[in-house]
Assembly symmetry: C2
Homo-oligomer: 404 residues x 2
């Protein structure tokens, strides 16, 4: 192969190419030339089509959610698979078959997901894991813990402790508005729960004893100039993967299987968790990974809560939605795959739009008509979330579930 074919540019003496292929073994997380970069803080792709998720599965070492697994979930639950499964929005997993094995043998599991409360403003993209987690809670009838990492946001952002904690409580209201069962759901702020639980800190220290700085440097790219809070934080996101972090729910049981639905950028935390688990005598958590929700401007990056034009916010009015709905046509169609429940209608739109029978304006109108009631209904449900309801969800307590 010629130099140009390999490097994409002509050879110049003493002037290395911009993106040389890494020499030797580069490890699973290394960014290779032309490859997407995905970690909890950065999602970058050079492709206009967005992140290559099949490649990500190979690089992260997870498994594809294939038709067979989706059929198995349908058989186990007796429910039609959620549109996020039907349409490949949750596309990757770790050990989901093990969870189903256990479930079919009447063995318990619990769900764990979370959110980093960096501001009061949440957008529709933030709801993806929660919409799906609510469905999982409903069809499997299992308890759920939701971690609000206000400590993380305090450590990473220019926020006070009280601001970060305030965002956690505000965001909890939007999460509750997704319809979680109050009898089966515990939402917690790290800043609060650490000071309320006899089991949580013990698991945090256990994990912290079994992970070195070298390891978090490799996984998260931390440097010597990072504060010691960031360096030790991954243990705090890992700890809810182990059931005895919640003695009020699981007593001293250490072996209740955990299933984590999350966007794939959170996987590094749980690769670390799964590495540590057997060394401290706990089962590895299983995972279900989603793709990223595209920004209105296009599919190349995750959306940002700090850019009001990058997405549809949960506080947007019908009028704002209509204006923002006038976005890139491909993005319009992609949004419909997330939110239009009717498979036949979606397929018809796809055909008509591809063939030219449907005009761009009509496609965008379809999207606006899906989003307006969705956001309005969310806003109505959120209004009904009183301070008392938030307090109840966020109080450590027994949950009701059917485990033997």
């Amino acid at each position: 192969m010629s130099y140009k074919a390999a490097m994409g540019e002509d050879y110049k003496a003493d002037c290395p190419p911009n993106n040389p292929a890494p020499a030797g073994d580069s490890g699973p997380d290394a960014t290779e030339a032309e490859e997407d970069f995905v970690d909890p803080w950065t999602v970058q792709t050079s492709s206009a089509k967005g992140v290559d998720y099949d490649k990500l599965i190979v690089r992260f070492g997870s498994s594809k959610i294939d038709k067979e697994l989706i059929n198995r979930i349908e058989r186990a639950t007796g429910q039609r698979p959620h549109r996020f499964l039907r349409r490949g929005i949750f596309f990757s997993h770790r050990d989901m078959n093990q969870v189903l094995d256990a479930y079919e043998n009447k063995k318990p599991f619990y769900l764990y997901t979370g959110r980093g409360p960096s501001s009061e403003a949440m957008h529709v993209g933030h709801l993806i894991p929660f919409i799906f987690t609510k469905w999982l809670q409903d069809v499997f009838n299992v308890p759920l813990v939701i971690q609000m990492t206000d400590d993380e946001k305090y450590l990473w952002k220019d926020l006070t402790l009280d601001q970060a904690h305030g965002y956690a409580v505000e965001n909890a209201k939007d999460i509750i508005a997704c319809g979680f069962d109050i009898n089966k759901t515990f939402i917690f702020s790290d800043l609060d729960y650490m000071g309320m639980s006899p089991g949580f800190y013990r698991n945090v220290v256990k994990i912290q004893k079994h992970v070195t700085f070298n390891q978090v440097k490799g996984i998260f790219g931390f440097t010597d100039s990072d504060c010691i809070g960031k360096i030790s934080f991954p243990a705090i996101q890992a700890a809810p993967s182990f059931s005895n972090s919640f003695p009020q729910i699981f007593g001293d049981k250490t072996d209740v299987q955990c299933l984590i639905p999350c966007a794939i950028d959170q996987d590094p935390y749980f690769r670390m968790t799964r590495d540590v688990a057997p060394r401290i005598g706990y089962p590895k958590p299983a995972l279900l990974h989603s793709t990223f929700f595209p920004a209105l401007q296009g599919a190349q990056t995750k959306m940002s809560a700090s850019d009001p034009n990058s997405s549809i916010f949960l506080t947007d009015t019908a009028k704002q939605i209509k204006t923002k709905g006038n976005c890139d046509v491909d993005v319009s169609f992609m949004y419909l795959t997330f939110f239009l429940e009717d498979d036949n209608k979606l397929e018809q739109i796809r055909k008509d739009y591809t063939s030219g029978a449907m005009l761009t304006g009509e496609l965008k109108k379809e999207l606006v008509e899906v989003l307006q009631p969705l956001i309005a209904e969310h806003q109505a449900r959120r209004k009904e979330v009183t301070e008392e309801i938030v307090k109840e969800f966020m109080t450590p307590r027994k949950l009701s579930y059917d485990f033997q």
Copy 2:
């Protein structure tokens, strides 16, 4: 100066000397050739006379406790200074004059000391900070918090969480037996208190945000292979220096001055704490530093709780004390300076022993006669420390004190 005079050996080509003097500025903590090495885990001196404490004051940047300061403490409290002050056993301080300024103006302060519970076995050397802290509590009439760093011992040693926590509770009994006022003293295990306090974790995260890995590497010598628990631990030893870590005692007051009596090897933690304090809006803690208690084998190192022959343990019988009392004669005299209250008698012994009028056997007999009742009385008081009393000391609660 010749090469040999400077380096202690003849010049050999291409073969550097074993202990070259460091090049350039070596920072306050660098071990220089011939200098003592002191950090929380290692105390090393090449001198048979033990650590050079005057040099340590210069290197650590603390201040000597001089006659003037001791007189001031006497005037402020109206009490004769403790023998540990009269005899230079507490020899160094930071900001003690500020504590006295505040005290004389009826401004409150509190005491903070601690122990790393690495085993059940405590020796007389471990009691030094507690004997002195009890005296400070009595003469100043102030509240006291005592941190049992069972999380630290779990992280550093081959212990389970339950073992480390068990040692914390056992050691608390020996500490309580020193005579602390139950109405003015809170003893806590980190593993317990982190999960019980709304204020403690918040301060830990605050400190962790303001200290980098580079900083703890410089102060404590951590490396990339250290676990992230060790790396972030210094924040946990720092947090009790700030009064709002104890809302049950101080409410949300952030400005109650803290005074920390401890052995000088703990100073690195509090240099870090004092560096962080103004950046998070808190007052710097003041310190009183003690020398190390010599091992029976000689003054070159700290004693070790894991070597039964290195010291007098709190569980030793009168017979064991008698046997161990047959130690190095200089150590015998040094022990008397710690435990013989009578200044005149101590001076007489010093004179007689130096002149040869007192025989070695007699000196050792004096020591045994001081230690036997001291240990027996300690054992009697410890017997009276019931589980209920331990529980009371270790329960977060209001303390009674006279602050305005």
